[in-house]
């Protein structure tokens, strides 16, 4: 049996996927301050859990902002290419994917072949990312994981600042006016959906889109985004690990090519 491993070292968490052409297993850990340490740790965990040794893995592919670690990977690909591969593997008819991660958001259009057709990134500031949600949630003494449930039934209040720093002050102002946390959260999610909607508008989507990255676990945001873009969104199992999955599959493709 041939095995490949994909490792996606992100700004917040590091994801690893073990793949053998049929099934895949994933691990997610927090990146912490050392991306190379996180990469090593996730690799060891995958091996340990599945009773494998490094020698039994034909290829280790790196992606994510930590992919530049010297000597750690046999091959690297950008996270855009990896997410594309992972997305088309899980849903071959997907016409694109939206990945909202800890520090950036990516909207990518896929060709019928599953290859990247075009992409729009927001990675120069925290606006509309997991970080933005985290900062504003903290202001209200909440955890990111609580946001979806709280916002479910609420009417959203307009949030105008997309900058994570300014949005924090705006949220404090709204709280001072006595606006409920639920309405503020609904407003925050709406503002993210609008922003991603504008990015998606540049790519003319027609069909089903994969929604991945840690923020995809937020069900309310999924609904808002789907309405904003006018397309059906599909959140895969383990949405955080799609990049690592893609990396593992790309690695596996390379092993097969060599044979």
């Amino acid at each position: 049996m041939k095995w490949s491993i994909g490792i996606d070292i992100g700004s917040v968490s590091t994801k690893g996927v073990l793949y053998n052409g049929q099934v895949w297993h994933s691990e997610v850990i927090s990146t912490g301050w050392s991306p190379s340490q996180a990469g090593k740790e996730v690799l060891e965990r995958l091996l340990l859990t599945h009773g494998l040794t490094r020698d039994q893995i034909q290829i280790v592919v790196g992606t994510g902002y930590g992919r530049i670690q010297e000597g750690m990977f046999d091959k690297t690909f950008s996270e855009i290419t990896c997410h594309a591969r992972g997305s088309s593997y899980l849903l071959p008819e997907a016409c694109g994917f939206i990945d909202i991660g800890g520090q950036d958001s990516k909207v990518v259009a896929l060709a019928k072949t599953g290859k990247v057709r075009d992409f729009v990134l927001n990675d120069k500031c925290a606006a509309g990312t997991g970080r933005f949600l985290q900062v504003t949630a903290q202001t209200m003494g909440l955890e990111v994981s609580q946001l979806s449930d709280l916002a479910r039934e609420a009417n959203s209040v307009a949030i105008n600042s997309m900058c994570a720093v300014f949005a924090e002050s705006e949220v404090i102002g709204l709280l001072a006016q006595g606006i409920s946390k639920s309405c503020i959260i609904a407003g925050l999610l709406q503002s993210i959906a609008k922003r991603i909607g504008v990015m998606a508008g540049k790519l003319n989507f027609q069909g089903c889109i994969i929604f991945c990255g840690g923020v995809a676990q937020n069900q309310v945001l999924k609904g808002l985004l789907s309405k904003e873009i006018g397309c059906k969104l599909f959140v895969p199992p383990k949405p955080q690990s799609i990049g690592a999955l893609g990396a593992a599959i790309l690695g596996y493709d390379l092993i097969k090519e060599e044979e």
Partner: protein, 380 residues
């Protein structure tokens, strides 16, 4: 593999500084300029030395922001900062400046810069289809002629100008011959080296020496190609760079493209072939010929700017381009807006993808640019 002759071009700008100093000591006149729209043949024909002015480094921007707004194109800020801080020797040694009304940022900046150096600002029409475009340009050429004659105490005769036009045309042909070596695959010369030659041209005013070195470089590159040596790999994707000027000192994006395995075949922008691809007619009246050539500069400051699309169409076919990277500077409205038209044009007419990279002169966004470039190259 890199041509040894490149060592000369590596030193072009520093040695140009010394030449400028020597020329001043010998009592020669120097006229500085910033833009590809500047009809610099007039300066040469007036017996003065035309020299490019510094505009492409991050360093003097902080100085410029004492006066100029932060949210302004880095090229405009850098030009002003270099000039007023005394860090651009070419500005320092210039007697006059030949400026132009291109983008809003530049023309308002020139109002402030005029406090520091005598200058003529050519009035460049914004509309490419303005009925009186040609006449207007001819008037501007004569206006510049009169200005130089008065301020440099000389006469620009038809004969002198015709001679300079001939020399400059030969140089243009030679530079295009150099660029066209990159029609081969893999490319014999890297994009950053081509930039050094083409950008460096404005700072070297011994025309004979420069052209002799370009000839040497061409010969060396041909030999290298014959031996199978090249600047890129067979697997490298062929990239055309367009957009805002990317001068020496701000090669960030180009370097990332090359380090990520892309082959920059040529630059369409002002720092690339834009000034050299079209010749000045040697058949017409020389003053009118200058007006004719420079009025057709395919810059995003003019509207509509169909010539840029036509030029790109020609280049992507001739140079068998796989993908286009549009480098636009933050707050450069004209190039940023035009990026959409260029992208649509390339997609519809040539089925070619375009990656727009919006950036400034700082290195803060290198990792983000690398991600875009990697994904773009993997996509091709």
């Amino acid at each position: 593999m890199r041509a040894q002759t490149m060592a000369y071009f590596d030193q072009l700008i520093p040695s140009g500084m010394l030449l400028a100093k020597e020329a001043k000591e010998q009592g020669r006149n120097i006229v500085g300029y910033y833009c590809v729209f500047s009809p610099i043949e007039l300066i040469e024909a007036a017996g003065a030395i035309p020299v490019g002015l510094c505009a492409t480094k991050q360093e003097p921007i902080a100085e410029a922001e004492k006066v100029l707004p932060r949210n302004l194109c880095p090229l405009v800020k850098s030009s002003y900062g270099f000039a007023v801080s005394g860090k651009c020797p070419f500005f320092h040694f210039s007697d006059l400046v030949l400026a132009e009304t291109t983008c809003d940022g530049k023309k308002k900046m020139y109002e402030l810069l005029a406090e520091h150096k005598p200058m003529i600002v050519l009035d460049i029409p914004n509309s490419s289809n303005f009925e009186d475009n040609q006449e207007h340009w001819i008037k501007q050429v004569y206006r510049a002629k009169a200005y130089f004659e008065k301020n440099l105490g000389t006469e620009i005769t038809e004969e002198k100008l015709a001679d300079v036009i001939k020399i400059y045309n030969e140089e243009r042909k030679l530079l295009m011959e150099l660029v066209s070596l990159n029609k081969q695959h893999p490319t014999p010369i890297s994009g950053t080296d081509l930039l050094k030659v083409m950008w460096g041209r404005s700072f070297q005013f011994k025309r004979d020496e420069f052209t002799a070195k370009v000839k040497e470089l061409i010969a060396e590159l041909k030999d290298m190609a014959a031996r199978g040596e090249s600047a890129s790999q067979v697997s490298s994707k062929r990239i055309l760079v367009t957009g805002c000027p990317t001068g020496v000192g701000q090669e960030k994006v180009m370097r990332i493209i090359e380090e990520s395995g892309g082959a920059i075949v040529l630059q369409e922008s002002c720092s690339g072939i834009k000034a050299f691809v079209d010749l000045v007619s040697e058949e017409m009246d020389p003053f009118e010929a200058l007006a004719d050539k420079y009025s057709k500069t395919p810059c995003s400051c003019v509207s509509p700017n169909k010539r840029r699309l036509e030029l790109l169409s020609r280049l992507v076919e001739e140079y068998r381009i796989d993908g286009v990277v549009d480098i636009t500077l933050q707050a450069c409205h004209t190039y940023n807006i035009e990026s959409y038209s260029v992208k649509e044009h390339l997609k519809k007419k040539h089925n070619l993808p375009l990656l727009q990279v919006e950036t400034d002169y700082s290195d803060a966004d290198s990792q983000q640019i690398k991600l875009r470039v990697d994904a773009f190259l993997e996509m091709l």
